[in-house]
């Protein structure tokens, strides 16, 4: 009788990825969640259970900041969903047009901002929009629209939307590329069959291509959601840790950073910071679950 050989190679090949991933992702994640259950009293770390979360959600001072950050975060996400993704899809549709010239050039030009660092993007846009040195007031003046200019990044009512649009400018290349790839994978025969039935031009896009790229749009939405709720860099680079003016650009990422590491005279509180990180994790988890079980499983897929 032959004994089953132990297949060592499976473990060996899995090990590097599992070990690295555990060390840099899984362990810190669970350790952060654990840290959220403690508090520091008189230089001693003591277990307080869910007390930090109670403070975060129900203490008026903390709750106000938390809901403000969460609300801003949703607005940040909505702008991306309403502006970035439709523009990305439209660009992809235009780029995939067979008679468009210089398509490769446009594709690269639109994608390049994505590979720039947040610090560069934040700094460059701050300069562009600066009321003192920026080119934005001059350009508006040249077309006689100077009255439209406002110091957008410094006004409570515009700052967050402005930053969201800067982020859209930076990342519009990603949905464009994903949709572009999906559009290219649609077989010619289907489009030709549609043409014979009289479906051409714009209606070919709405009736044939769009249903076929719907799963890609779903994936992009969930990537946008996760990316936006983890966002931090751009706001920090452009507005600093206090996410001014008057916390109008404060999102969960900056709120967590300020709490965890402290700011100016405010001392860092790793335990409350971890509680915010835990709340962020839960929000993202719930969002992803709604998508996975509520939307993706019901989406109609077409066999190409």
């Amino acid at each position: 009788m032959q004994t089953r050989r132990i297949r060592w190679h499976i473990g060996v090949f899995l090990a590097p990825a599992v070990i690295v991933y555990t060390a840099v992702m899984i362990f810190p994640l669970f350790n952060t969640l654990r840290l959220a259950l403690y508090s520091k009293v008189e230089q001693e770390r003591i277990f307080v259970g869910l007390e930090n979360f109670r403070t975060l959600f129900f203490d008026p001072i903390w709750a106000e900041q938390f809901w403000n950050a969460l609300g801003n975060n949703f607005w940040f996400f909505i702008i991306h969903m309403l502006v970035q993704n439709p523009i990305g899809i439209a660009l992809a549709a235009i780029l995939s047009h067979p008679r468009l010239r210089f398509a490769a050039l446009y594709r690269s030009a639109i994608f390049i901002p994505t590979i720039l660092s947040f610090v560069i993007v934040g700094f460059a846009w701050k300069l562009i929009l600066s009321p003192i040195w920026g080119i934005a007031p001059g350009m508006l003046d040249a077309v006689g629209l100077k009255f439209l200019f406002a110091p957008w990044l410094g006004k409570e009512e515009y700052a967050l939307t402005t930053l969201a649009l800067i982020s859209v400018w930076q990342f519009v290349g990603i949905p464009m590329m994903l949709i572009y790839a999906a559009l290219l994978s649609i077989p010619e025969e289907i489009l030709e069959a549609g043409e014979i039935d009289g479906i051409t031009g714009a209606s070919a896009f709405w009736k044939i291509k769009l249903p076929l790229i719907l799963p890609s749009i779903g994936i992009i939405s969930i990537l946008t959601f996760v990316g936006n709720f983890n966002a931090f860099d751009l706001i920090y680079a452009a507005q600093g840790a206090l996410a001014g003016p008057d916390f109008s650009t404060d999102i969960l990422g900056t709120f967590m950073y300020r709490t965890f590491f402290g700011f100016q005279l405010q001392l860092g509180d790793p335990h409350m910071g971890s509680a915010i990180a835990g709340a962020m994790f839960a929000i993202i988890l719930v969002g992803v679950c709604i998508y996975l079980f509520g939307i993706q499983t019901r989406m109609r897929r077409y066999q190409l």
């Binding site: 410094g154 100016q264 001392l267 990180a277």
Partner: protein, 417 residues
């Protein structure tokens, strides 16, 4: 997810421990004064190394806004330098309480400093001093002398004269009356509220009364400065809402603005940048003949990392920092950072001389929010930034701002409850 890996990434830097040869000791200084890198490297460190062979000193600053966060992480991870530049008050007190800073009360050279100078780096009961005081900064206004001569404006001493001067500059139109923005928020509080405020709350008298709970932030002395700040908005440049701190510095040094609400730390930078003559005036008093109060804020100290591998060398360096020799080098190398040592230092820089001369004419105080009052959540200093910005922009009334701040403070500070 990436955010969550940060603490671990910081922790791993701890593994990269510094090693030093036994005979040749290297001391590393943590600091937020990255502007001063050249001065430390060219003047201060060589002067120390010349008299102390065998000790090498490295000055390794980080960005001011990140310093506290970076330092705390480094200390927790055990990778911080031997010498720690100390922020005043609670930030450093917390480091001492956490055992990161050594008690320096037994350092003989500490007797070179007055109690006020040491107060920023002592336990509340004054029993332990953990940082050697290095310097203070004085608030006031720097102005463009050429612009003032051109427009025939006298240096204002009262508030009425101050606003009249700003009005004249505004009407003339060739200069922005005052260079300040609200984008970075802290200028509004530091160079605005805490610059003009001491004249209202009578310096130390009001500050200590607030700490004792005898005055409230809703009192006129604490609210009135916001009403005055509200009048500033009209004299700031176009789009000041999005104007950053470096923008303001550049506007002034390029000669496009006439007045700059300042801290004395600007002096060396401005001397290098501006090609017109500058003068300084102290915060104008409310009525002619009033006693003037200035914010002479203890700003920098230096202490020793309790985990330092070279405590002997570090103490030697600190003793030298406390000496008159250092005070003289530092005070003149960094005009605008005024040594706190009991031995007066003769300043060469005319602008620095002007600032330091106010110590003789006015009562000195420190920023109202720094001692004790910024210990809890919400943080009074951070709240004051927002309130000062709101006052300048006119988005909230001074009375409402005072009430908000008082509520926040009273929520955790027992003497105010």
């Amino acid at each position: 997810m990436i955010r969550r890996t940060l603490p671990l990434a910081l922790a791993t830097t701890a593994l990269v421990a510094t090693s030093a040869a036994a005979q040749d000791v290297t001391l590393t200084i943590e600091s937020w004064r990255n502007d001063d890198l050249v001065l430390w490297q060219d003047k201060i460190i060589p002067a120390f190394e010349a008299t102390n062979p065998g000790i090498q000193v490295k000055f390794t600053p980080s960005a001011p806004a990140e310093y506290n966060a970076v330092l705390n992480s480094k200390l927790d991870a055990g990778s911080a330098g031997d010498l720690i530049t100390c922020r005043p008050f609670d930030a450093s007190l917390a480091l001492y309480d956490a055992g990161h800073l050594t008690d320096l009360s037994d350092l003989e050279a500490m007797s070179n400093f007055s109690d006020v100078a040491k107060s920023a780096w002592q336990t509340d009961d004054g029993s332990a001093s953990f940082c050697v005081p290095m310097a203070s900064v004085i608030h006031g206004f720097i102005y463009n002398k050429d612009a003032f001569t051109e427009l025939g404006i006298e240096v204002p001493t009262t508030e009425a004269e101050f606003f009249a001067a700003l009005e004249t500059i505004k009407e003339d139109g060739s200069y922005i009356p005052m260079a300040m923005g609200t984008n970075d928020q802290w200028e509004a509080a530091t160079m605005g509220y805490n610059n003009i405020g001491p004249n209202y709350w009578k310096g130390e008298e009001g500050r200590l009364a607030l700490i004792a709970g005898e005055q409230k932030l809703t009192d006129d002395a604490w609210v009135a400065p916001y009403a005055t700040l509200a009048k500033w908005g009209a004299y700031l440049g176009d789009g000041y809402e999005a104007q950053t701190y470096p923008d303001s510095q550049n506007l002034f040094t390029l000669g496009r603005a006439a007045v700059y609400p300042a801290g004395s730390w600007e002096i060396s930078g401005f001397n290098a940048q501006a090609d017109f003559e500058m003068g300084a005036f102290k915060p104008p008093v409310r009525n002619a003949g009033d006693t003037c109060y200035i914010s002479d804020h203890t700003d920098i100290g230096i202490g020793m990392n309790a985990a330092s591998a070279n405590p002997e060398a570090a103490r030697e360096f600190l003793a030298w920092v406390a000496s008159p020799e250092f005070a003289s080098i530092f005070g003149n190398a960094l005009p605008g950072f005024f040594p706190l040592s009991n031995t007066p230092v003769e300043m060469d820089d005319p602008l620095a001389k002007e600032f330091v001369s106010w110590r003789g004419e006015c009562e000195s105080t420190i920023r109202s929010t720094y001692q004790i009052l910024s210990r809890g959540t919400p943080n009074l200093e951070n709240e004051t930034w927002g309130a000062s910005v709101a006052a300048i922009k006119g988005t909230a009334s001074p009375a409402d701002l005072g009430a908000d701040l008082q509520n926040g403070l009273a929520s955790w500070y027992a003497p105010q409850q």
